[in-house]
Amino acid sequence: MKAVCWERTNVVRVEDVPDPSILNSRDAIVRVTSTAICGSDLHLLDGFIPTMKSGDILGHEFMGEVVEVGRDVGNLVKGDRVIVPFPIACGRCFFCTHDLWSCCDNSNPNASLAEKLYGFSPAGLFGYSHMMGGYAGGQAQYVRVPYADVGPFRVPAQLRDDQVLFLTDIFPTGYMAAENCDIKGGETVAVWGCGPVGQFAIRSALLLGAGRVVAIDTVPERLRMAADAGAETLDSLHDDVFERLRDMTGGLGPDACIDAVGMEAHGAHLDYWYDKAKTMVYLATDRASTLRQAINCCRKGGTVSIPGVYGGFIDKVPMGAAFNKGLTLKMGQTHVHKYLPRLLQHIEKGEIDPSFVVTHTVPIDDAPAMYKTFRDKRDGCIKVVLKPH
């Protein structure tokens, strides 16, 4: 079968690899009909996530048709059309049974690697480094899905692939980011990063009752997409973000700030170049200028919610600001399983149509070129869907 493989930093290729097979009795094999490139895949392309190996199959946003099930998968049959959550979860450990699916205790075969860096191991993820399990991903024609009796989620035939595909990651991720803001009605939420996750965070915050959303980015088409959803926009290249947010909120600051950028923040300020220099000589691993700004801009007693991915260490976190303003920081890989029924309902009722975010749909053979188009934000690229067949 064809699969998108990571070769080394800056190089992904489409390779011809063996078809996957059932390895455990709770596995299923899914024939992939649609798969997407995630912003977090760009961290892999750029070499920001450790423990990748040449030849690893990428991809954690995918859906398709069940073609084979292991003997302990009682709830799926061949032909079921499913989306598959990006965290792999057993469904039975303490964490899964407490709706902390991305913290599953049993799904990472390389837990000891993750424990070295994080103390304890999070769940295994599809196509996201060996520290996160080393599972082959879904940017391929077929994929093996472990714990298939728990993860895959059936979707109705009347909804198109591009309307439900993003239930695998970015829609729940944006939604959890907004939910973490503890919105009760009428709040002002500032969102840094208007990539796909930021777009869903903006729409989710409004769905949850935020009074006002301010979207911050530098890319015009992304700001336009945010404005389409009803957000006010700031261009962080030209606007003084702190002063503008302060003005817009009558001197209070936003009630909640969402960092939908993560560890590869870009910026024009001094601290960006400071981070860039440090990461280049491995004194730090992640660039954190967005997080610093979000903490600084947030009102006293507010919440900073972080759906953007961080992998290692960051420097110069304004801990004093966070502490003395009494901020709440919430973050983590998304507990996708928890949100699926709720979010499917929003789609079915027509309250949101996730396909708005797609700018490019291409055959899987074009994946290597599209990784770069997406990373460099060329050609108005916001979200890429790959068609493997």
């Binding site: 493989c5 070769e7 063996p18 199959i57 599972y135 082959a136």
Partner: protein, 275 residues
């Protein structure tokens, strides 16, 4: 969580009886001086590491020589000195015996005491009822399903079991063990029979906690090949405490998820794996 009172047996006491360390452990002639032992360990470690890295005949020889120095350093016993009748260990008794297990005191505890034995403790919490966890472990034949170094365990009558393990370098190690302590849903302890080729003992405590069943394991054994074997195993990355942690992780997965997570056999674009 403390052990609840009012139970039939206090496992802490049982454990104390089983695990009280005796200071009488130096079953090996110490005939090498202290500074010399340190130097032996350092030189041996370096030599063995160098040899293992080279992966050639010469490298193998260097590794073996290094291992011999390591043995000399860790045990304080030098066969060459012994053959020559030299003893540089001032103040160390040398009349304690030959270091072989079988002809010493018949008590397994003593055989395993101190430096002669490898001693590992670890714990894991499993989101299953204590009775189920206990029952699974009590059937020793289940142990090879998650203990990677065990090939098989066969239950025989009257609490006797036959164990087959994979030793270093593909060597097969076998022994018989007897259950020496057992409290339903609370404790299992076993030890090898006198005539076994290796000495080992183990105990597992089971406690109910608000997070599930806490399993605490104690393992002690004389490694195949003695301290030397342990040093070689350590150099090749087989650290007993890491092995036990991985085994307990697999045990937890097996009981909670019904299977052990794996990626063995999945496809990738690595050379040799491509079509």
């Amino acid at each position: 969580m403390a052990v609840a009172t009012g139970r039939r047996v206090d496992p802490g006491r049982l454990e104390g009886q089983l695990w009280n360390q005796s200071d009488d452990y130096a079953n090996i002639d110490v005939n090498v001086g202290r500074i010399e032992r340190w130097m032996s360990m350092l030189a041996g470690g370096a030599l063995a590491a160098y040899g293992l890295k080279r992966r050639s005949t010469a490298g193998g020889a260097a590794a073996l020589a290094g291992a011999a120095f390591l043995y000399r350093g860790t045990t304080g016993h030098c066969n060459v000195y012994r053959a020559l009748g030299i003893n540089r260990a001032a103040g160390h008794a040398t009349e304690r015996g030959t270091g072989r297990i079988a002809d010493r005191d018949s008590n397994t505890r003593q055989k395993l005491g101190g430096r002669r034995g490898i001693h590992v403790e670890d714990a894991v919490t499993i989101n299953r009822p204590v009775a189920e966890v206990y029952r699974f472990w009590r059937n020793f034949e289940n142990l090879p399903r998650f203990m990677q170094h065990l090939e098989s365990v066969a239950m025989r009558d009257e609490g006797i079991s036959h164990w087959v393990a994979k030793g270093p370098g593909g060597m097969k190690v076998e022994w018989d063990a007897r259950i020496i302590n057992e409290v339903d849903n609370k404790l299992i302890a076993w030890q090898s029979l006198e005539e076994s080729m290796i000495a080992m003992a183990g105990s597992v405590n089971f406690d109910e906690t608000p997070r599930g069943t806490r399993v605490r394991i104690h393992l002690q054994y004389s490694p195949p090949g003695g301290k030397l074997g342990a040093a070689v195993a350590w150099l090749s990355g087989e650290e007993p405490s890491i092995q036990v942690r991985e085994d307990l992780r697999r045990f937890k997965s097996l009981l909670e998820a019904g299977e052990i997570p794996t990626t063995q056999g999945q496809s990738s674009g690595r050379t040799g794996d491509r079509r």
